[in-house]
Symmetry: C2
Subunit: 298 residues, 2 copies
């Protein structure tokens, strides 16, 4: 566990477990079975609807239409993730307001949509359901979406009403999205697509920098806007990281090998971070370690 | 002038003067002559050196090298603009610290470098001195540079030490860089390159959303971190806008027509905004309305 915790301090890249030591799942086991938490105590689709409503407000189809229509379309066509659920649940777990969690989740969703759009532009990765815009529109609208995410976080009528908290959240988000976070993961994906990267060596790092980085940011930011103490922010950051790793591994492994033991271990570590929180409130967020939860947020 | 001021409130797009009413310059006059301010009372190249030093600190060539080396190279190969000079001069004009102006200017420089890099990716515009990286690296490193700019603004050891001011600056920067600012201007440039845009109709708007938006942001942000009152922030915002329009028009018109009268008018409006500031201090910033100043910042 020390290696994982280092991720949050000095940021060395140490795989949780070398991939070649991961035991394969039996061929009949496609998803991780969850028995210790309720499968869906919170209606995650409601949270996604709240985030979509916030984004529709932040992204009206206004002048110039040529720019804003594609921005709108690209944001709402990006795939759903657990990020909004994680962020909002962390915020509420520490006693914060639902709307603050939704605000941060909306900003994160914008940036993930921009990142998702750009990820497919080098034509090295095949985008499912590609939009009908030419590449230059995708490129520029992606560039327009990033700052809108930061604008949302800094706006005084939202999270920005508390400048100290908003600034901390902006710092967290900027780091998670940048060259030592999601951008590195995407860079690795592109290299992998070009056959320049050994997947066995790179998968753990790719997940750490991608899902690990983004999910830990989502949970920490939810905790920060919810007014958590430092200790709880760090617990939820680690919880988010483990959830991100689980989802990243299950998503990324697919055709290349399975990771049953490692996912079980991550799940155990994740749930351990929730000890000490209000038992009733913890049920919602704890369900997110369940791989099946992804089905609830589509 | 009312039309210009509206730009800062309800944001309607009203050209300062229709382009077909602009008088051509005589063929022998290539730059605007300046007689009312000293030509270079401040050594702008020193400010650019300060900004570069700050950026070298913020952008060490660290792990992963594959990501950070191109980020570093793309940032330092982007063309110089008046933005750092304008931002730092505005900060100092209102009694702020030089280092705060440099911090904001550095963040703006990062975002302009990312934006410059992406602008040439659709292959519709010809980049002078193109970097040796493939397009996918330019794309992803651009994506990594944007959040680094916001990280710089939010860092507690810099501008972020004053959360209220930092948050205002982040909001300003996010708006200037987004879909109603620089991204729209770039979108128009791409359309122009494809022959889908009438330059005569579009040039003023392109300058408003591009240089006008970015320069007004630089001056306003310099004033904000310098601790200016609201009235002075707005005066410097307008000053920056006029300076941006002058430089945008001179830069953009080149082969398509000249704009002597309009530039003279903008110059008059710009200098008017500086009335009431300390006469000695105003000399530095006022020199930026001089088109020739661009030569001082290379």
């Amino acid at each position: 566990m020390a290696a994982i915790l280092n991720h949050f301090t000095s940021n060395p890249i140490r795989p949780l477990l070398p991939l070649n030591k991961l035991k394969p799942l039996s061929s009949s086991t496609k998803t991780i079975q969850v028995t210790t938490t309720d499968s869906n105590p919170t209606n995650w689709s409601t949270i996604n609807a709240d985030v979509d409503a916030r984004l529709k407000q932040a992204l009206p189809i206004r002048d110039p239409i040529d720019v804003h229509q594609p921005m709108h379309d690209l944001v709402f066509s990006a795939p759903k993730t657990l990020v909004p659920a994680l962020c909002t649940a962390a915020c509420e777990l520490v006693g914060g307001e639902h709307k603050d969690g939704v605000d941060v989740a909306s900003a994160l969703n914008l940036m993930l949509a921009a990142s998702y759009t750009h990820q497919y532009l080098p034509n090295l990765l095949q985008r499912p359901n590609p939009p009908s815009f030419p590449h230059n529109i995708e490129l520029l609208t992606g560039d327009g979406i990033y700052p809108l995410g930061f604008e949302l976080l800094a706006s005084p009528d939202g999270v920005g009403g508390d400048a100290e908290r908003a600034l901390r959240v902006i710092l967290e988000v900027a780091r998670a999205m940048g060259g030592q976070g999601l951008v590195e993961a995407q860079y690795m994906k592109v290299k992998r697509a070009k056959g320049e990267l050994d997947v066995d060596c790179a998968l753990m790092r790719m997940c750490e920098r991608g899902e690990g980085s983004v999910y830990s940011c989502a949970a920490a930011c939810g905790a920060i806007v919810g007014g958590a103490c430092e200790e709880d922010v760090e617990k939820l950051r680690r919880y988010g990281f483990y959830v991100g790793m689980i989802h990243g591994l299950l998503d990324g492994v697919g055709r290349e090998g399975d990771v049953e033991e490692e996912v079980k271990r991550l799940r155990f570590l994740a749930l351990k971070e929730l000890e000490g929180f209000d038992a009733e409130k913890v049920r919602a967020i704890s369900s997110l370690v369940d791989a099946d939860t992804t089905r609830c947020v589509q």
